[in-house]
Symmetry: C2
Subunit: 725 residues, 2 copies
């Protein structure tokens, strides 16, 4: 079957960014300049023009931005996103008969008959060709004038008059039948005509693509996880017990205790305080210290065994405090310039009210019991999984969604979601979409330590950030390969990493054996490889490194099962380094986004080097509002190709950071870095300044090869590059 | 909004092959085993099963092929295509509760309480766990029996009975409460249950993907182009005039003259004889020898200046013969085991009947004239282009389509389409689709010497084969890069190259200066790099190498503008080499497809080495017919996972060819090839036989490093590899 309009000759293919063929939105962040590219071409030799159309999903009007030809049929343009939530973009392109005519006329003029020329091609141009071309141009100007004149608006009416006058002068010129013609148009004439293109046969991309825009915190965030149960001061800070870091299980920490720590956490430079589940902890099969299944009566249990007679996911563990206490903590967190992240774990202690109220949400065995959860080889005897194949799945989905809504309504906007990969992908897509409709500022961090396809699929279905394999990537080659994958398209178009050197579940072998140097090294990698990172503290800053047994990643005396006391005044604490790193992150925009990450070769496998850079504030994009549907139907004539937006010149990057880390926690390592100067905006043979932000020391570096030495104590350089004046 | 069924937990992503997000069909060839892959996974730890569903588009039933897990959530299966035309395929996948249960039971049995064990984990399995698991298994077998029993067919009823009996025995076993259980199922029991999977919550891929299957000639073809006008015997073959290859313009060649040459062309091994346009040639602005615009009255003109008072695209140039003569030539071509390809050029001489009958199909200038065609810097004063922006475009499309139909109706099935990139892409999509509906065996070769995006877009819109940049790729690095691109996905999924070392339009500089060695070298590259190639003869085999002027790719005395006489008996003709190469291509399946092309490093940039291999006849794919819609709605229970299809073992390739070519036409070159042994199916340290099919000489090669010397006269090896017994 023929298309409705077979004369739309321009083809628009392979629009980027595009995730899963447009099934999922690409993700960007507030304030981003969204670079869009496509292959755009038509048959034959006619010139083509294209414009990017973009809008916030609910806006009636499209923003039109002229696209620039990059060569070989690739076109690009950018638009800025100034609101969070769903955006739409598409591309419109058309044959530019006016520009085709200009180029054709220029060719004919250049080939005007020269009877004296020995080249026959210079003698045989039919004499009527140029006057004919001028007459054709006059018609084009007349048509352009009609399009301008269709509007009754003052300036357009004046344009129409001016266009008609150009048409008339071209006709006059044609009548003269001159022997030698000059090009008859001024740049102003051409620009005026270009403001009223003929869109009647414009092609529109075959789909509108979606973009989801998150707020800044989704891109750049520093998370601090702590167990509130362990925040009760063991004694006065200056008393010996505290200094010796003795466990003192006499009092369960409360929201009020956490509140007292807020200034200290904020001073370290964190912006998200993340608490493990704060809900009532079940009694049945409650775990004791070190994951014991035969604990004493005073066992505190795991916060992830959610639900008891005191309530479920919308209740608070009485030992932590009340809703009033929670509200105070939330307000105080905000007052300290941070946000509070809650841990949402969709699973139930056997005592959870859902178990009796909604037996259909659980899978009962022939003897009436429910099989506890397993994440092989881990066993969670104190936890029942939910059965998403329940025939009552609609009610289950609604209830789970309402858990998020409950805490959103209390003012929480950041959620760390426990094991999302054990709940259906379709559930997350619906749940997050639905929550985002009213709360586009909600952030969801997926704790999806699972296979790559599942991890990525969760991101495509709406999770804002994700835990990563960083925790297990310790060799240079595997760090480079992994970060090349996750910070470049297609993955970076939908996946935002959040790096954790440790979690309550994962004490990696490198930390167990590498001493303080390993903690420093992993911290520096986490804070500089990605714009979002987190630590499970105070275990991290105090370099807690004892596993429950050799070969295990579980902590000895894991805080998951008992109260710990931490000596936050330990002089060996990494808190000063953390504070410095967070300061460096805040003052260097280069470290606040992942997309510019670039690895530089070093001739020593124990040394890794990478740079990140942030562009100078970009020029405003030349674009204009066009009326809604009319723009796309081709009845609109406001597709003016104003000054095109051009991707930033790497030489003009405002902030460039170069990080070099010694991956060996035991020995000094040295080597030559082979800098990719183009990436750094440094010229060949140039001498430039590098300031180590960790020490304040300046060095003068020269050209691409530079030498570094790093010891286990001075484990890294974080250089800020500055071109010498 | 929630999905209609939220319990379909399996996700199917990134199905391959998929062209342009499924907008265009992937292309395969008759008899191909179509490898399909996808990422398939579900939440949690349940096992997953998947099947590939495929069918010829009009079949009511789907063919179901069980998919195999390749690891990391990648799954694959293949189906064979035994009909040309449109096929559909999709994937269905579901949670395999039965297999999940088997694995769970095995784990529990392995962990049975061992009271003597020092490991507490070996002592604490609750005693009821295994009997409970057995009871759950009994229920699964009962459910499976119900699905089998739903059919009244004899064998299924027997299966249901057997399944019920297994369920009963599991219950009995559970009741025994044994101290130590053995795994209770036989492989036969498991296979029986697996024949009746529960598809009620199966997921179906979000789209059905299209596949276009062409006949063999679309994949593997050897084209010979000649100008019928130049086929009149100048004199008796044994007379001096013929031997001296003197032009003798006394008689215009005819279809009957071409007929006489057919045995000779067939004997060279060609299977497609391609003729430039055979339609009446216009008189207006007719071109003379060497593209002269001021020819004498006897000028023959260009066959691409189509149309005169004698007719247009559905007429025959009277000097060539009549329709009866054409029909005889067509029949004789077939009788000689070849097909006839016509050149379809949608453009008109000013004398073409369309110019007066359909003035709306042309763009008239203000003075009433029509601008002639240009393909800068070339000028075609004798040709008018069609105006596809005509308001009468529907009639124009219909008429153009009818040109193909006219010749299809006379028995032609192969078309070389001139400059398709100067006609709208949407036109081709419609035209080829529409022609293919009734004539799926029609082959369209795109003469699209244009930019890559346009060239590829024509292939996506239906062109079977395409001319390529091969003609201009002469350096090793550029040959390797180009062929890596066009013989691997994504490009190879829609684009089939046809290599031409020369055409009437292109006498490449390398042929002008490289002498006979250059012709040999380019011929060997064309015949072995791609399964489809063509030459413009006899210019090629007679090593015609004079350009019209230095720096031009146009032939002196181009046959486009005048009759040439060729001495087909020239003892220097490359015809014997062509014959040998076509023979090698016919007897070695490795050279009949492009997808296995693999380059091997040589330590000399003047030597290029590459291999191709064809698998042994593949095992039949285990698959079965399932009823149409029911299969997809999940009411069908015939998704038996029979023996899975596994991609071929490279060691078992039936035919492997290794080509080494000296790219230097002037000097001997030698070097060490570093063979990729895995690709060749050769073991490390193995000695194997290589037979040069050009000379018949055998060599014993050993391991990966082997030495070659090639001179300008013995310009290549075409080795057939055989493992020693």
């Amino acid at each position: 079957m023929k298309p409705a309009e077979g004369r739309r000759r321009v083809v628009i293919e392979d629009i980027q960014p595009q995730v899963a063929c447009g099934l999922a939105p690409a993700r960007r962040f507030l304030g981003d300049s969204v670079q869009v590219s496509a292959a755009i071409f038509c048959d034959g030799h006619d010139h083509v023009l294209a414009r990017l159309l973009s809008k916030y999903h609910s806006d009636p009007n499209w923003l039109s931005t002229p696209m620039t030809a990059l060569g070989n049929d690739l076109w690009a343009a950018a638009f800025s996103v100034d609101r969070i939530g769903p955006w739409l973009f598409t591309i419109q392109a058309w044959v530019d008969h006016f520009d085709t005519w200009c180029a054709d006329l220029r060719q004919r003029l250049a080939a005007q008959p020269d009877l004296a020329s020995p080249d026959p091609a210079r003698r045989d141009l039919p004499p009527q060709e140029i006057p004919l071309a001028l007459t054709i141009g006059a018609s084009l100007f007349d048509q352009t004038a009609s399009r301008a004149g269709a509007s009754s608006k003052g300036s357009k009416a004046a344009d129409a008059k001016q266009l008609k006058s150009i048409a008339a002068s071209l006709r006059t010129l044609a009548g003269k039948n001159s022997a030698l013609y000059q090009y008859p148009l001024t740049p102003q004439d051409e620009a005026l005509a270009a403001r009223y293109p003929d869109l009647s046969l414009a092609s529109l991309a075959e789909k509108e693509l979606r973009l989801w825009v998150d707020r800044e915190r989704a891109r750049f965030s520093s998370w601090y996880e702590l167990f509130p149960r362990s925040t009760a001061p063991a004694a006065k800070e200056d008393q010996p017990a505290a200094k010796e870091n003795q466990p003192d299980p006499t009092r369960h920490g409360t929201f009020a205790d956490v509140e007292l720590l807020l200034p200290e956490i904020a001073a370290m430079g964190f912006d998200i305080l993340y608490l493990p589940p704060i809900h009532p902890i079940g009694r049945a099969f409650r775990k004791g210290p070190n994951n014991s299944t035969t604990p004493g009566p005073d066992a505190e249990g795991s916060p992830w065994a959610i639900g008891s007679a005191e309530g479920g996911h919308k209740s608070i563990h009485p030992a932590l405090g009340t809703f009033a206490g929670f509200d105070r903590l939330l307000a105080a967190t905000h007052a300290n310039g941070m946000e509070l992240a809650l841990d949402i774990a969709f699973q139930c202690s056997p005592d959870h009210p859902w178990v009796t109220q909604h037996p259909g949400w659980f899978l009962h065995r022939p003897d009436g019991t429910i099989q506890y959860a397993e994440n092989p080889p881990k066993k969670y005897q104190d936890i029942y999984p939910l059965n998403f194949e329940s025939s009552d799945w609609r009610a289950l989905w609604d209830e789970l969604r309402s858990v998020f809504q409950f805490w959103i309504d209390r003012g929480v906007r950041v959620f760390r979601v426990d094991n999302p990969h054990t709940k259906p992908l379709d559930f997350w897509q619906w749940c997050i979409d639905d929550l985002h409709r009213d709360s586009p500022d909600a952030i969801f961090l997926a704790e999806a330590f699972t296979r790559p396809h599942v991890m990525y699929s969760l991101a495509k279905r709406g999770f804002t950030q994700s835990y990563t394999y960083f925790t297990w990537r310790t060799e240079k080659s595997e760090i480079e390969a992994y970060f090349e994958e996750i910070t470049k398209p297609p993955v970076s178009d939908f996946f935002t990493p959040n790096l954790w050197p440790n979690t309550p579940d994962i004490l990696h072998a490198s930390l167990q054996t590498g001493g303080r140097a390993a903690f420093q090294q992993r911290l520096i990698l986490a804070t500089t490889l990605a714009a979002s990172y987190g630590i499970y503290g105070p275990a991290f800053e105090l370099c807690e490194n004892l596993p429950i047994k050799p070969g295990s990643e579980e902590y000895l005396h894991s805080e998951k099962y008992e109260i710990r006391r931490w000596n936050r005044r330990d002089p060996n604490s990494l808190a000063p380094l953390i504070t410095l790193l967070n300061q460096i992150r805040r003052t260097n925009p280069a470290l606040q986004s992942d997309l510019s990450l670039h690895f530089h070769p070093v001739d020593n496998p124990q040394l890794i080097a990478y740079s990140k850079s942030a562009p100078a504030a970009s020029d405003p994009v030349a674009s204009e509002i066009v009326s809604g549907k009319a723009a796309i139907d081709g009845n609109d004539a406001s597709a003016a190709p104003a000054a095109p937006s051009v991707p930033g010149d790497p030489a003009e990057r405002a902030n460039t950071i170069l990080v070099v880390v010694n991956l060996d926690p035991h020995y000094e390592q040295s080597g030559w870095i082979d800098l990719d100067l183009k990436q750094l905006g440094i010229a060949h043979d140039e001498t430039f300044d590098v300031e180590d932000l960790l020490t304040g020391i300046h060095y003068q570096w020269h050209d691409r090869s530079n030498f570094v030495v790093l010891s286990p104590t001075a484990t890294a350089h974080i250089f800020r590059l500055t071109r010498n004046p």
